[in-house]
């Protein structure tokens, strides 16, 4: 019973507690560069998740035979193999998407999020745990990219996933599609998430304190009596 709870946590932590974009702040290059539209964010997120999950699987399978000195080299070979597979498949089956994402698919090889997960998790944990961890992290990364892409597409082009959302009256803010818009959106979202976390912490502290206070007042009252 206890083990099952741990497993689900292994998956869920990637979505929020250690979200690759907002908490680990890893893989910022594709995050900032490709999120001009929601569909680009989704495609990039899917590609990264695929690479992450399969590399994790292989790395955790062979973690006991890889000598420590060459582990990074092995990780990179494994990661780049899957990245090349994604790149070729996209070029063959989704030429439009592959054109839109341009050089950022091959650049997944050097996405530090993936190497980070290999080094920090997959090379030290069982296959099931690694799979859960990488799926969670991948989906967390993808969600962050979709949110970022949607906000930038909405404010810069009035649309989300190509569907017009805002009326013609609204003048698109060009800056949102330019690189500056990526930094602005990411900064504001990160600030928002930190503010939320701080507030939650404060509330917890308050709760503990109030419990303590009521206990002490009760104590003093009994003493007085």
């Amino acid at each position: 019973m206890k083990k099952e709870v741990n497993y689900s946590n292994e998956f869920l932590k990637g979505l929020w507690d250690i979200n690759p974009v907002f908490k680990q702040v890893l893989g910022m290059c594709p995050v900032l560069a490709v999120t001009v539209s929601a569909i680009n964010g989704l495609a990039m997120g899917l590609a990264t998740t695929f690479v992450l999950v399969f590399s994790s699987l292989i790395v955790s399978l062979i973690r006991k035979i890889v000598p420590n000195q060459v582990r990074i080299a092995t990780f990179i070979v494994i990661i780049s193999t899957f990245v090349t597979i994604v790149d070729l498949v996209m070029k063959a089956k989704f030429p439009e998407l592959s054109k839109a994402l341009g050089p950022f698919i091959p650049l997944i090889v050097v996405n530090c999020l993936i190497l980070g997960r290999m080094e920090a998790f997959a090379s030290k944990n069982s296959v099931i745990r690694s799979l859960l961890d990488s799926t969670g992290n991948g989906i967390g990364f993808m969600l962050a990219l979709i949110v970022l892409g949607s906000i930038r597409e909405l404010l810069g082009n009035r649309t989300i996933f190509g569907f017009q959302v805002l009326p013609e009256l609204y003048t698109p803010m060009l800056v949102m599609i330019l690189p500056a818009g990526a930094f602005l959106t990411l900064g504001l979202l990160m600030g928002l998430s930190n503010w939320y976390v701080k507030k939650k912490e404060q509330e917890e502290i308050e709760l503990i304190f109030s419990g303590y206070r009521s206990a002490t007042t009760l104590n003093t009252q009994t003493e007085l009596n």
Partner: protein, 185 residues
């Protein structure tokens, strides 16, 4: 010593396995990639030469050039793919020329990495349609801030003069190379 052998064995086998996997994936994907490329070129050729029905690669050293023919296999003109530097990176333009090399039939931008919202306007119809039936002798000129007055002029996009200028230069350059080659023959 034992450790060294282990390192070599592990790295080698991983290299071999991933090489094998990639080779088979690449074998599977290559025909599709070729087909996509061919379809894209074909679409672009017929877009810039609407009267064309057949095309043939014209042997050219540093540019892609196609001769295009109509139903009766009569030569209707040329299609040239040329590239040059834009504002932030290379721009690749495909354009059609009439048989007498006097006018452009149409153009399309195949690849560009210009500023979104400004330089990317060169891919919009408003800009590209200016080139339809444009006179190209002696060469294409561009004007800024006022409507074009001559038959061989186009209006540069406000805020994206460099991208507009680059597109014109790429086309002029392609025309000159083709003219030189045809004169030599």
């Amino acid at each position: 010593m034992k450790q060294v052998i282990k390192i070599i064995a592990v790295l080698t086998s991983i290299g071999i396995i991933s090489g094998g996997v990639l080779a088979s994936v690449s074998n599977w994907a290559n025909p599709f990639i070729e087909k996509n490329k061919k379809e894209a070129t074909e679409k672009a050729i017929f877009l810039v030469q609407p009267e064309a029905k057949y095309y043939e690669r014209f042997d050219f050293s540093d540019m892609e050039v196609y001769k295009v023919y109509d139903y009766d296999k009569e030569l209707v003109g040329y299609v040239v793919v040329n590239q040059g530097n834009g504002f932030q990176g290379p721009i690749r333009v495909i354009f059609g020329l009439s048989k007498d090399l006097q006018r452009i039939t149409a153009i399309d931008v195949l690849e560009q990495v210009e500023t979104p919202g400004l330089g990317t306007l060169i891919t919009e119809d408003d800009f590209k349609n200016q080139f339809k039936n444009l006179l190209i002798v002696p060469m294409i000129e561009w004007v800024k801030g006022k409507p074009p007055s001559k038959d061989n002029e186009i209006k540069a996009i406000t805020g994206a003069t460099i991208s507009s200028k680059a597109t014109v230069q790429i086309i002029n350059d392609g025309i000159n190379k083709l003219k030189k080659r045809l004169n030599d023959e």
